[in-house]
């Protein structure tokens, strides 16, 4: 069953369709939300809220975008809203700058030789906005147009966020490589 048909069934009050829709998207949504929010319990709360909103607003979906774009938009909005309520300064550039290169996990990273671990560490140090865009680009394989619709910003902002994410990853991985070769 495709996404649109599933949403139509959800809109008509079919709880089984909602269950199927949940199983299709919940882990992807959770992963995306975790790219912006560190607390996994909060992320699980948001996943629940997103699917409740799907249940309530499925009939309002007008097929102007892909279902996944619509769904991730809801998740993004709820995540940002949660961040604003719980950590008022979470979105300030100053806070984000501190997160990028000086995350607490940096020291632990020195003893990890595996590339996958290094990549994971460096991803964890990205600014939340950059990380979210990278997640949507590389994991969800979305276009910059869809991502712009989800994170509600201009398309060029998506491209520059992805560019900065790439640069930050290069810088972080290079630093790890230098430390390894120096030890």
């Amino acid at each position: 069953m495709d996404d649109v048909l599933m949403l139509e069934r959800i809109a008509s009050g079919d709880e089984q369709a909602l269950g199927m829709f949940y199983q299709r998207y919940e882990s992807r949504l959770f992963r995306f939300i975790c790219s912006k929010i560190a607390d996994h319990f909060e992320a699980a709360d948001i996943v629940n809220e997103v699917f409740l909103e799907v249940w309530q607003k499925a009939e309002q979906f007008q097929q102007r975008s892909k279902v996944s774009t619509w769904l991730f938009s809801i998740a993004y909005f709820k995540t940002v809203d949660r961040l604003r309520k719980t950590v008022p300064d979470a979105l300030s550039e100053e806070t984000l700058d501190k997160l990028e290169d000086e995350a607490p996990g940096s020291l632990a990273c020195l003893i990890q030789a595996e590339q996958a671990d290094q990549v994971r560490h460096c991803v964890s140090t990205l600014k939340p906005d950059h990380r979210a865009v990278m997640e949507l680009t590389f994991f969800e394989e979305m276009s910059y147009r869809d991502i712009a619709a989800i994170v509600q910003c201009p398309e060029n902002t998506v491209k520059t966020r992805m560019f900065h994410a790439k640069q930050a990853m290069k810088k972080c991985l290079q630093r790890l490589l230098n430390r390894e070769s120096g030890s």
Partner: protein, 191 residues
């Protein structure tokens, strides 16, 4: 057809070339640039490796999974109960309002007029008397006459001193008796 993209534009589009979501026009321009620019080629290789690593990264934590689904279903159940409860209260409020309207209407229809007297209209029309008293009649005399003749005041006195009296079962006989009273100035049957 896309406008000619600058090298900077190409670099910004590279992640989306790697994930395969560019339009045909954009893709062609990126591929043309890749053929002549080694730095862009290196950039593309880095992004491809990065995507492969990101895609193979396990989730930082287990997603809510089946527990999350149960939670969602419970949330729906709670929502339904709240909605049903709200609807019941709404219906109860409507019913109560309707009952109030009926009750008020009934009370208005059944309640006697001011001061406990019935209105002059309706079934009592043929048993009413219009009476004026002598100017020097006292309240005690009027009260005694009304009690003796089993009359009650329905309306009055008017500006002209006319009282409307309820005359009981035989208004003609009562009218005759009243005419003989010293304190009565005039009596008239109100047919």
């Amino acid at each position: 057809m896309n406008d000619k993209l600058t090298r900077e534009d190409i670099e910004l589009l590279m992640p989306f070339y790697v994930n395969g979501t560019l339009s045909d026009g954009e893709q062609q321009q990126v591929e043309a640039a890749l053929e002549t620019d080694q730095a862009l080629q290196d950039d593309k290789d880095f992004l491809q490796r990065l995507q492969a690593e990101v895609k193979s990264m396990p989730d930082a934590a287990n997603s809510p999974g089946e527990f999350g689904l149960k939670r969602l279903q419970n949330s729906l159940t709670v929502q339904k109960k709240v909605r049903n409860s709200t609807q019941k209260w709404r219906l109860a409020a409507i019913a109560a309002s309707f009952l109030l309207v009926v009750q008020t209407t009934t009370m208005v229809m059944l309640t006697p007029g001011p001061d406990g007297y019935r209105q002059a209209g309706g079934e009592q029309t043929g048993q009413l008397l219009l009476v004026t008293f002598q100017p020097d009649a006292t309240e005690a005399q009027i009260r005694e006459l009304l009690l003796n003749q089993q009359l009650s005041i329905v309306e009055g006195p008017s500006a002209l001193g006319i009282y409307t009296l309820s005359a009981g079962s035989d208004p003609v006989a009562v009218s005759s008796r009243l005419e003989q009273s010293d304190i009565i100035d005039s009596v008239q049957l109100n047919q």
